[in-house]
Symmetry: C2
Subunit: 783 residues, 2 copies
């Protein structure tokens, strides 16, 4: 009887526990790191990584290129576990093995087959079994330290390969050095050869500590094992192995600290961040950290698949861009003749106020990251603004996508100006705005960063055509200059929007003259409007319209347009949709045209066939087209925004490793866009306006709660409640803001920041009375 | 005035020409080789290759593994152009370069970036530009010869790398040798190391001839260029470069003949197949050859996208499996102790009657290739049957997927028996049927190929559990034996179907006793029916049902099932659907159950999430589930077959490089299934019945014409005409065969072979009167 009771109690306890566990599925549990990983580029896949982590430790199935590399789900072999997966950066490839040592023979030889059976990947953790060696590998990390747990089988030959000379991703390693510090510690440096994008050789320093002594340390140069005993190995193609004699099955723990400053800093990062050997504790900390970040936005309702996609999107939006400063704030500035070690600003306790970041371009982030971060993570925007101001002071230019502590001049224009304008106009201001404004203004004239075409590193740079733009208000095609993406029409349209961003910033800063100047320049988009073709039409240097113009061409880009075409860029006037619609001949004409584009685009799932970005009327596979479904909110047909956002969202719903983003996720940009679409909010102007506001569309979920950061916003939370939310009910019937009827399709950021509730009622048919007023009066350029 | 007239005439001529061109889009023009190529496995992507070609010359972006390798569309670099992309076979990697020679440094170093701009791939042709070297590369081929055209830019250093020691795909190269024959010819051999699947080291021989003399020949061993002058280079990691002094921009043509027999045979293949230097002529011949093959099936109607998918599917169905015999019929038999050079049967003029093939498994081909080939390419079935009979005579077993002239024992069971039974019972009989029957019968008992589990090479083999099957009529789980896929439930179900194939063959051959024996054995599927779980339920060795049974599990395979689960294999009774339906409790119960499975399966696009084949109720991503939508034709609900075939077809409609097959295309199997679904015909029993017949479902196209091979079938063509064919009209209203009403959902192969017309009228609502009779009477097992 007693036994039975105990059993019963145990059972009840279990049931209660189970029920409470069931009820508390955490956001972090809904992230699926495998989504779309068969389409990985080097920095896409992440498992053992913290938010914006310097260390991104994960298995690599492909290491020889930038695209289709890192961890590809469909691949059958793991080549190594490496620590850095960043924009133009890589480093420190490690592989545990058993049997005959093969480190010097290269990854083609020592790679191991693996299967997805028993494999686990979560934010901050990865477990996988190396079939060729019988080793179970687990990985976790802090921000700057990778933590490995290897379970070796019984074997006379156990070793850990440090392939410091390996080619990883973007290019070869020019030199590496690795040495034994003690029988539980090694250190080294791997110098990544410069690339066409990252213009200088870049060292990655590391220190590795083990919980068990290794018995010998041997290395190779040029595929030959060194026969003399040495504690230091160096060369162009060099590496080392740590060897363990003990034949028994055993567990080895290893921590690897990374720094871009020095070996000493790598060791300091290691000792500061993980000063113990409790692997599981670091896994828990990783999951908890991620859960804290992800829980800033909570959701209720929707399908399990939609929830998984939502948090996977959000996780990506907080992941791809990378911290490069050390735990103590030191970072290497590579913008000058020589590397200079600098420090980020420290607080009164000597702790860094913000880290220093490297990242791929902001190009297009006004329709994704800028909006999401400024709502739920305003502190992040401060951090990135500080990084950019620091780079301006170090190197003279505000960057558009720095790597290796230097400019890369990736893509075109100066997208950082919208980032700053959004931040500043939403009250995110913990950086030197005067310096920032100085740098952003510089970019808007000859000699600024707009003047650099894609990857155009020479100075002076001409590829961005700023002399043309300043003189005549548009950039022609076929400018003679170095660099890529010399697409005059795209440049003109982006510059005009960026001028408007400057106008909104200068207005907020009471710079009246600049406000007038840039407001006027923001109308430059009209210089490309061809009333004959009724589209944005590129122009030759002599001013004539280019011949053989087609809105859509079966290629990667159409002449004049950066990875896109006129069908898409014609709508790129986020600063003045009213003006564009007038050029078209009014709302009715415009809506017919854009709606027809969406109908055609739907045939190709809203992307160009096979990344042919110029081949479609709609392209959600690349940045320039990612605002288009939201445009109808500005043309008096908000129900079409509601419809097409849903349709686009549907084709981005895949949560398998073989789909999900239909193109380049681009370090959180597509993830952030997915989150915004699911929440039912957007800002076509990027939130840049002096008085920012959000446009409304139909959310996917019954309830979305955004917890506000009280260091920035006075409210506690902003809740979006959706009623009558069935899959066929995609149209907004009515809305209420804090209990009062709201008939606009938009509301001000001030109301958001105060906290409150937006209620949205959905239905199966459009309510064509709702939301037809054009948002908002403040957009008036003549103001 | 005159000018104007001429202009007008020119315009008219052009218009007429254009119109006629428009009207004559050839099948070959509709093939898109890039479809789904971001998911390539080594043998998937093909450009310069003839039907079943020994040579498959194409760019490789990935060379270090079997999966995610070959040409991946999303990759950014070309590592080499290699000549063999086959099941467990690879070989002869070539790369033209300019600038400092880097051949000895390996592919990671000498690879070149490329873009898809200007890239062209067609059946038999590929053009791509190597950006790092400024070289335009064009490729074409005959069956056994690769033909290269390189346009070098002005450069002092031009070279062609022969990386004969490179690792390609499945494993390392153990040894290679390459030598200079003259200053326009080199020859060599590359020995591919054995793998777990292909059990012996396998040599690939080649001869390369150039149209221009090279100025020097230098090579390397182990990453070091040889400093002594030598005309022969050999070693484990060896290769050579051909160097050209002439600085001017120039064009170099090169032909590379391949053989698995000897260098002499490679030279003979080269000289026999391409005895000239007219590159464009070979391109034309390739396109014409492909067009002839593809034109055996002509279509009218459907969208452009559907047409592209159709011919891309058909092209795949004629492509993945490879000829390994030489132009004169010689091939290497590797089944014995020593390699033996043999010859296929020759005709009276000394020409080979059929080539000898290597190929991945027939596993599942009864629902794809067997049906399609027997309709439109009966001569192919004769060829493959001869290959299998030859292997039986050489090595004692009819194979299920030979590579390197030897058995691989890929997958399970003896799927070749359905291939033979379909061929023989449709009158395709140009091989020694008595020998074939002997071999197939051997496979059905202890010691035959069924007894080999996946890749179980040891003899005797036990993994296939034939002793259990023969003794008790089912195979248990957890048999102690080597080899993979030891899944007793799958084996039992497949063996029972294969027994029925033998019964149908023995009946045709008047082997009455065998007919009775195998008919009885074909009911063995009932031994796995568990009336409690009401599904096919695996059993332990002691006969008990396995515990913790679930129809669907979130994994690659469920216990008992080969890359699948019980939800799918429960329906694997193509030989006796009536019996299965009775076990379920009748048609109504069965239809409800299967229809519910499809509704659940639709949520996951009819495949397991991320190749988790056991995770879904429906899995069109792998062979065991590829007949399921057609089952309703046997349960009195043909409209559900019509509905679900269309729904499945929709999710397989992608024609981008990022989708199309949702899994492994498997050397034409998914392509063939796509063709059958589009044509609206199928054979759930694989066409094995003594009197074969086709089941009907709704075609995609308005008209499908299958041109019949008169050496086999008396008719000229069989036409399937579909009226009222709108996208929403997916249901069959009525059918006519040769003008007379046909109320069955099936018709006999004899009627097909006679030629004729099947008319199908479609509508938006099911006609539940049509086609409800169960096909066909001849299925009766008691007969």
């Amino acid at each position: 009887m007693i036994k039975k009771s105990i059993k019963y109690i145990v059972l009840c306890t279990f049931l209660v526990l189970f029920a409470s566990l069931q009820a508390q599925v955490k956001p972090v549990d809904l992230v699926n790191p495998f989504v779309d990983t068969h389409n990985s580029r080097w920095f896409y896949f992440n498992s053992a990584s913290r938010p914006f982590g310097m260390v991104n430790l994960s298995p690599d199935t492909d290491t020889d290129k930038t695209w289709s590399s890192g961890y590809l789900y469909g691949s059958d072999s793991i080549r190594c576990f490496s620590h850095v997966h960043a924009w133009q950066l890589a480093g420190v490839a490690v592989m545990p093995t058993t049997g005959k040592f093969k480190g010097h023979e290269g990854m083609d030889v020592y790679q191991s087959s693996f299967s997805h059976e028993g494999e686990i990947a979560k934010p901050g953790y990865h477990k996988v079994f190396l079939e060729d060696y019988g080793i179970s590998v687990e990985l976790t990390s802090s921000t700057r330290v990778g933590f490995h747990r290897y379970k070796f089988p019984k074997s006379k030959n156990k070793s850990i390969i440090f392939d410091t000379g390996a080619r990883l991703a973007h290019g070869p390693t020019t030199f590496s050095k690795v040495w034994k510090v003690s029988n539980t510690e090694i250190a080294g440096v791997q110098v990544l050869k410069k690339t066409g994008r990252r213009p200088k050789d870049t060292p990655v320093y590391f220190v590795a500590k083990l919980n068990k002594p290794f018995d010998s340390f041997k290395g190779w140069v040029n595929n030959n094992m060194l026969k003399v005993k040495t504690d230091t190995i160096q060369g162009v193609n060099a590496g080392a192995g740590l060897f363990f004699k003990n034949e028994e099955a055993s567990e080895v723990l290893m921590k690897v600290g990374i720094s871009y400053v020095s070996v000493e800093q790598a060791r300091k990062n290691l000792d500061t961040e993980i000063n113990h050997w409790d692997f599981d504790k670091v896994v828990d900390e990783s999951l908890n950290t991620w859960n804290d970040w992800l829980s800033k936005i909570e959701i209720k309702g929707g399908t399990q698949k939609q929830q998984v996609k939502f948090y996977t999107d959000l996780w990506h939006a907080l992941l791809g861009r990378r911290i490069i400063s050390d735990a103590d704030g030191k970072y290497t500035d590579m913008t000058g003749e020589q590397p200079v070690i600098r420090s980020v600003k420290l607080d009164k306790n000597g702790k860094p106020l913000f880290p220093h970041y490297n990242f791929d371009a902001w190009w297009g982030s006004h329709w994704s990251l800028n909006i999401l971060w400024s709502m739920a993570y305003p502190e992040l925007m401060d951090g990135f603004c500080n990084t950019m101001v620091d780079m301006y002071q170090n190197g003279g230019l505000i960057p558009r996508g720095p790597s290796g502590g230097n400019y890369t001049f990736v893509m075109i224009g100066d997208p950082s100006v919208s980032f700053f304008a959004t931040a500043y106009n939403k009250g995110i201001r913990n950086y030197d705005i005067e310096k920032a404004y100085e740098g952003l203004r510089k970019n808007a004239f000859v000699g600024g960063s707009r003047d650099h075409a894609g990857y155009e590193h020479n100075i002076p740079a001409y590829g961005g055509g700023m002399q043309y733009y300043v003189d005549q208000g548009w950039v022609p095609e076929s400018i003679k200059a170095k660099g890529g993406h010399k697409d005059g029409a795209s440049m003109t349209l982006e510059y005009a929007y960026q001028d408007w961003c400057l106008s909104q910033l200068s207005k907020a800063l009471n710079k009246e003259e600049d406000y007038k100047l840039f407001s006027k320049r923001s109308l430059n988009y009209k210089n490309l409007w061809n009333p004959e073709t009724k589209m944005m039409h590129p122009r030759e240097i002599d001013g004539s319209w280019i011949k053989d113009f087609k809105p859509v061409v079966d290629d990667f880009n159409a002449r004049g347009f950066c990875e896109s075409n006129s069908a898409i860029y014609t709508h790129f006037v986020p600063q003045d949709m009213g003006g564009l619609i007038e050029l078209f001949g009014g709302k009715a004409v415009y809506n017919d045209f854009l709606n027809a584009s969406f109908k055609k685009g739907k045939e190709l799932d809203f992307v160009g066939e096979g990344k042919n970005h110029a081949a479609s009327w709609i392209d959600y596979g690349n940045q320039p087209g990612t605002g288009m479904a939201h445009v109808f909110n500005y043309s008096g047909a908000p129900w079409l925004t509601q419809k097409w956002v849903r349709k686009v969202k549907e084709v981005y719903g895949d949560t398998t490793p073989y789909g999900g983003y239909k193109g380049d996720e681009d370090q959180g940009q597509m993830g952030a866009l997915g989150v915004l679409m699911a929440m039912g909010v957007f800002e076509l102007d990027g939130g840049v306006s002096v008085k920012p506001y959000y446009e409304i569309t139909s959310p996917l979920f019954d309830e979305v709660t955004i917890h506000l950061n009280n260091e920035y916003y006075p409210g506690e939370k902003f809740v979006i409640k959706t009623s009558n939310n069935l899959s066929e009910n995609i149209y907004i019937q009515s809305t209420k803001l804090n209990g009062s009827a709201l008939n606009n399709c938009w509301f001000y950021h001030d109301d958001f920041a105060e906290g409150g509730t937006l209620e949205i009622k959905l239905g199966q048919q459009p309510n064509k009375e709702w939301g037809v007023a054009i948002p908002p009066p403040s957009l008036n350029l003549e103001d």
